[in-house]
Assembly symmetry: D3
Homo-oligomer: 230 residues x 6
């Protein structure tokens, strides 16, 4: 089984990190390749960023189809390009927000999302609503660290931890969802310190798409998500 | 007052038509310019089409800002790029699906949408839901005419009329919403033949954005739709 | 085009103010007449007030029909009598709560309403729900000034300003909706002081009904809102 | 205990019938008086009818308060004037649509409403939504008999029975709700013929208000439904 | 008329209290018998408790059917076993959470629930949602007194009173719903001290089932709640 | 990793089948044990059946905890006992309805459920609602084959196939969800014949719980699903 994990931004260090944490949860018979578009925004922190990243994501899907991948992950918490990617691909495509929130829904009555900048919170609520987990999503909390600062700001880890603690206390939630692919490396430590399950979307989406491929389940091609005619 | 009407596809004959029907509803002091992106899909009939049209729409917004336009219409019933366009523009931006459905909501308990291909129906329902008119939207009906065939297929007008009649009968609705900018020229005749109000989104959005500009109302810039930092 | 703006209460000074602010947003070819019922409550601050105002509103519609008006605004934020008025009139009828909230929905993710007395807040939520903007309505805040005190209480303007500031901070909203026709004269100043769009329902409804008339759109007469048989 | 059952229309024969069926379900210690307004519409079949009936309903509440009644029923399936009546009365006020639908909700997964004219169906859905029973309300079916024809049309009973049978078959419902106070006399026979519970709102509301009085429960007066200040 | 009130837990002192407060609201021609299962949990404070109580509740229904009871109340605020009980019984079955919340919905815009332990709050919200009163339920507040401590803890009454006061202030509600059958004896005093209606589910459900029996209304047996085939 | 798959009914042949199809989708390092309660109903086709099966399911969880299992599947499409099971277990517990519906939600806009008897359809809708997939669930269709007849009725396979075809045509769905653990053996053939993904809940839940264990994610124990105190 070959899975392609697409980092929609062009920051290579994030792509490497994403690949590492995807590989950590797959079975021994699964090959995971992590890539990012040739061009596009270096991080996705606005609707404009997301819109400009999508053509590159779709190019990665198209080249993945040519190379015969079995499934795809879109590794940005806004799930940019998820629907058009599903149109283009034969195999399943899973977004990390979608997978993280659906996975967290198995863990109790509700979860809290801890994300980067407050201007992305509205879109995350829209996704929760589209994915049917708005009731389980008890709060979405911005820690006001920009995506790329997660890698360079020495206080990032402590700030995220603090935001998680506040989220658990305020929301009375049963799990934390990390609202950025760039937080994948924090997942294990946060869980240990918080005493509650912490869901990283990169892992959750990789596990989900591996499961779909294993069950031979793929996007329905009879209706809205049929291959485009042009 | 200067308004820019953006046809997100690259079919110039549609752009001309859209400009004509936008100008038909504006006041004498309003200049309406209709444009389309330099490159992109010739019609928008899939999620891939919509995704690839958005960068061109955003370029049109950016050049419009440089030229000092007061407001914008995005003239495709999928409202592609509406949120990123609102981030970029100082003045108001209105989509034609949004305006058509909100306008129709003034006309009674509910409306029916008559649109092009059935693969677009799901997205139209998503928009109805986002815009808060899902309860008023009593049905969305595809007449299975492709966008560009609206201009060339001699049976298009009769087919759309038939779909409108069936929609009114099935849904018990109080108005028809036309689900494609390319149907703008059918609006007047359909209304006469059906005996019920028919809402063209191009007109509705142009009237809406003119009204917003006249009232000095514009996109909130304090939160999610602030100008992007990059 | 002739529009009739109906102030549902019998306080003439409010009727004059409403007419002034309606005229400020209409085109040069539009005649705006502002009226109020011959008898009824002097202000609408309870369900009883609203119920007793409606017969007078309907008399104004009936006399308006005899006089050949093209459209109507009901200028009280509770939109009293909107549905029966739509049954009686040939042309469109728009309520100011309806128009203000739908207009504000174009300006971002959400808006806050600032209104008069807390006992009216529940009804305003009901309207937001009926009009499909409950998700966009992020908060409804009473400033505890009675309707008629808006005109006489020298601290009214400062109190409303303070309530708007608190609403923006608490709700993270993108616009303010003024929840009383008697606040129309505060709109411009509040917007300047707050740095955010402030929507006055009198202006929004007048613009909306003018647009509907210009597009030849009117209430559906095939179903629920057909002319009454008696 | 003294209960006042208000027939909002001025057709005395209906008032007599309503009183009879209210008395049939009350305990021996309960006095039931049925009244109707001095003036107003003879039947309620439009929003205009409902609006014009409400002032008379409120006069009946006011005179009832002077006479010391313990509770009230508003016996028209549109529940006209329910909220202002609750403002005016010390004791509980119950509408027959409200009581019929809430009572039917005890009887299974869902119920069907069979009502008079199709133009009233939309309002009945609005009430189901407000009362929180929209999910349990599986269908609302008009039998196209006008309110006053229920008493004079010899085919009325058969037509209603037929509509009930179709509703049960189409909706898969567990009970029938009669959508007009004028159908109270059909309830027992319909239930026998259909083999399913048939809920008459007059009985349901009378039982409900008797129960509220017996438990010393009444409208909250701290907030929206406080006595009006004027 | 003979009604059977089933206390789903095995604490006999609670069963006695429940019977007393059920009898206090029934008519003179009604016999009320209060029982509890032969074995099962002594109190219901977790999903496990509820699950293990249900078989005993169903045995009580079965023996009640053999004895010819006309209707049943399930007297635990989680309404354990309500649906299977409705399958087994010919006559109506009402749960106290269901009845308390539906009854409180007659009293104004919204109510607050005051209950025992915070771990039960989620289930109470689920019930509010299922019964269609989620919008009217403005808050559910745990006072952190275990069920059996209500009878023995001398501070219980003061703690519940304090929680009610806080709930009214925070939620702006029109009534209080007591979230445990073991609070039935507090209802009258709380109402007097709070100046607002306080709904005890034991009373509300008993009144509701008596009313259903009086109107000859019972569970629909055509569909989901038909008698089980085994 | 050791997983315990609990068949809530006592029909051993189904337990064997469930174990076989669970093992078919797990990794080589996973041990799958399938069990069923010592006593309880032979099939679950009513609320009474479900209620009486739960104590046995909880005994299986308790013995599983003593034996050190890492996770559990409850293999009946009604997900009986899911919440109390989560209270008792340290590791994750997944129901097959929950997993099947959440998994199908990855495959397109919507899915159809094909299940056994029509009296179970209402409960399946309730689950779709609780799990947040009511919008994606486009239809639930009973094929009127009892659970145990799936194994013995030679026409069962053809009847289920026919129901799937009708569901796809009527709902316009992108995938089929099989609404009974006893249909697990039909999944592969149905998918081949229908040309669309068919989701078997046994496989979906087993994959889901394996993924949760692999990611070290488990039920939140801070709130509602904490271990019971008794």
């Amino acid at each position: 089984m070959r899975l392609k994990i697409i980092n929609p931004n062009t920051t290579t260090s994030m792509t490497v990190k994403i690949g590492k944490y995807a590989r950590a949860v797959t079975g021994p018979d699964v090959t995971v390749d992590a890539t990012s578009p040739r061009q596009g925004p270096v991080a996705i922190e606005s609707h404009v960023d997301a819109a400009l990243a999508v053509p590159g994501v779709l190019e990665e899907i198209a080249s993945g189809e040519a190379a015969g991948y079995d499934g795809y992950v879109i590794a940005c918490f806004g799930d940019p390009g998820l629907k058009p990617a599903r149109e283009l691909a034969r195999g399943p495509v899973v977004g990390i927000a979608e997978a993280a929130m659906r996975t967290a829904a198995y863990l109790g009555r509700g979860f809290s999302v801890v994300t980067t900048l407050s201007r992305t919170v509205g879109h995350a609520w829209d996704l929760a609503d589209q994915y049917g987990v708005a009731r389980q999503c008890l709060g979405i909390h911005a820690c006001e660290i920009a995506v790329l600062d997660l890698e360079t700001d020495s206080r990032a880890r402590a700030t995220v931890l603090q935001a998680c603690k506040q989220a658990l206390a305020k929301d009375g939630s049963d799990a934390i969802v990390l609202g950025c692919a760039g937080m994948a490396d924090l997942c294990h430590d946060l869980s240990a310190e918080l005493g509650v399950s912490v869901v990283d979307g990169v892992a959750a989406a990789t596990v989900a798409v591996e499961g779909l491929v294993r069950m031979h389940l793929t996007t329905g091609k009879l209706n809205e998500l049929a291959f485009p005619s042009r």
